[in-house]
């Protein structure tokens, strides 16, 4: 793929579109490519963590570090696939899958209470104590029928969201 030049061919666009399950139109992929090239200042074919953090709106986001782990070293095709969950054409299923991936940082297909605590810590910072976080999480987990030692898989996420 022409990552060092700034011209996408029609084949490239179709390949990317297929990879992201047609959640973006071809025009959108061209625009995303312009953005990708704008962010990838040193032209290495991927956007480094530094380059992402140079966008202040992204750097102030509480979950930016988690997302950086998922974004690290992605080339353009994977970048578009990453963003596909945010397209208006994405199904609810795809969106929930994405959220699951953000929680499941070690990628083993299971989300434990620890993972949920970490995300909650990113979102609330020092404004809630660790103890309070554990308390709240245990409480809502039990109300939903889980215990604090249970693992949630993707189907649990789907069920909880309905």
């Amino acid at each position: 793929m022409g990552n060092t030049s700034s011209m996408l061919t029609q084949y490239d666009i179709e390949e990317v579109q297929e990879h992201c399950n047609c959640t973006f139109s071809q025009q959108e992929i061209v625009s995303l490519y312009q953005r990708f090239c704008q962010l990838d200042r040193n032209g290495g074919g991927f956007i480094s963590a530094e380059e992402f953090l140079s966008v202040p709106e992204f750097a102030v986001n509480p979950v930016s570090q988690r997302l950086l782990r998922m974004l690290d070293g992605l080339n353009f095709k994977e970048f578009v696939a990453f963003l596909s969950a945010f397209s208006p054409r994405a199904t609810t299923q795809q969106k929930i899958e994405f959220i699951f991936k953000v929680y499941d940082s070690d990628g083993n297909g299971r989300v434990a209470m620890n993972d949920m605590l970490e995300v909650l810590r990113d979102l609330t910072g020092q404004f809630i104590s660790q103890q309070q976080r554990e308390q709240v999480l245990t409480q809502v987990l039990e109300e939903a029928g889980y215990t604090k030692d249970s693992f949630l898989v993707l189907s649990d996420f789907m069920k909880v969201s309905c």
Binding site: L32, V55, F58, L83, F86, K95, M116
Partner: protein, 374 residues
């Protein structure tokens, strides 16, 4: 889980210039759900994720420093030869004549400035007056060398103590364009090379103040120098560019409050360049100043409007930051620029953690509040 519609407009309209920056500003997009806190509410991080994805796809800060190339118009068989003629005229006729004008200007300037500077050492008042006039003359030569067509609106700046001029910043030529009308003292970053030489010799005579962006203690030193200058009766009026960096003349970034807490009247100046003739934005990451000047000298003209606006003072109960924002509003409206809520220095550094902490705090508070609702 709630849907994420925010990205709808951004991914399909990335190459259009959106009208309202407020559509993107993060704080308003987090919805306020009500009712008892359930597991699905804790797991649903989609508003935060959508904001992050929105920032990745397009963000208001990067847009301020993008030099938008003009639409190519020379693409068909009739227009291309015309464009070629234009190139010939610009590079082979206009450019040499401009270089001649500039060289002439330098000769006249140096041959008058050096004698005046050296011989009139004792008669300070006369010397300063002559040096001021000569600097204004030299700037006029510069402006002529780019065929600058500058239209000044509003009353000319007057020399009074306790007043400061602020303007939006697009390139270092802003200073030259303003200086040809009135000899200002300016506060600038010290540059290397020939620009630095000019700064330390000639600009010293009009009374300039230097700062170093990278030095931490520098701010206090500069603030003190500013206060001293403003109090001096015989000093030239001070010109400050509160944005602190060059912006692409479509947006304004946040003004630094340094100029607004000196306790004097602030006179806003708005500058808007007409892009049809040349894009005067100096993208310091992409070009050196010399390349930028050469680009200007091989274009048709530099056309801009300068508005001298009504002097403003700090209102009762207004903080310097609010004062700065008010003046930025006045300048942005006059010059037709959009305001962006970011600090220009984020070009060189990361945002402070307090922005993230604000978001965390509001999320934590809403979560705790919902816990109370049983």
């Amino acid at each position: 889980m709630s849907g994420s519609e925010k990205l709808t407009s951004s991914s399909s309209e990335l190459d259009l210039d959106r009208p309202n920056i407020e559509d993107y500003f993060p704080s308003s997009s987090i919805q306020e759900p009500r009712g008892k806190l359930r597991l699905r509410d804790l797991l649903d991080i989609s508003p935060t994720l959508t904001e992050a994805a929105g920032a990745i796809v397009d963000d208001s800060f990067t847009r301020c420093f993008k030099s938008n190339p003009p639409e190519p118009w020379n693409w068909n068989v009739y227009l291309f030869p015309l464009w070629c003629c234009g190139v010939v005229v610009r590079y082979l006729i206009l450019f040499p004549s401009r270089v001649i004008v500039l060289t002439l200007g330098w000769i006249v300037f140096l041959s008058s400035f050096i004698p005046v500077h050296v011989l009139l050492k004792g008669h300070d008042k006369l010397r300063k007056k002559l040096e001021r006039y000569l600097v204004e003359l030299m700037c006029s030569f510069f402006v002529a060398s780019w065929t600058g067509v500058v239209k000044y609106h509003g009353p000319r700046p007057s020399r009074r103590p306790k007043q400061v001029f602020v303007a939006n910043h697009t390139s270092m030529i802003d200073f030259i364009i303003l200086e040809q009308m009135t000899a200002f003292a300016v506060i600038m970053q010290k540059h290397p090379g020939w620009v630095g030489l000019l700064q330390s010799t000639i600009l010293e005579s009009v009374g300039c103040i230097w700062f170093h962006r990278s030095e931490a203690k520098d701010r206090e030193i500069v603030a003190r120098k500013l206060r001293e200058h403003v109090r001096g009766i015989d000093n030239n009026p001070l010109l400050i560019f509160p944005e602190g960096t060059c912006v692409n003349n479509h947006y304004t970034v946040m003004f630094k409050k340094g100029a607004f807490e000196l306790g004097c009247t602030v006179c806003p100046i708005a500058i808007k360049y007409n892009k049809i003739f040349v894009d005067a934005f100096w993208n310091s990451r992409k070009q050196s100043f010399t390349t930028h000047l050469l680009q200007l000298m091989t274009s048709w003209a530099v056309v801009c409007d300068v508005w001298y606006l009504e002097p403003q003072t700090l209102k009762v109960g207004e903080t310097p930051i609010e004062f700065a924002e008010r003046v930025r509003d006045i300048i942005s409206v006059r010059a037709g620029l959009k305001k962006v809520p970011w600090d220009g220095y984020l070009k060189y550094s990361r945002p402070s953690p307090k922005h993230r902490e604000q978001k965390q705090q509001s999320f934590a508070e809403s979560m705790l509040q919902r816990l109370q609702e049983r």
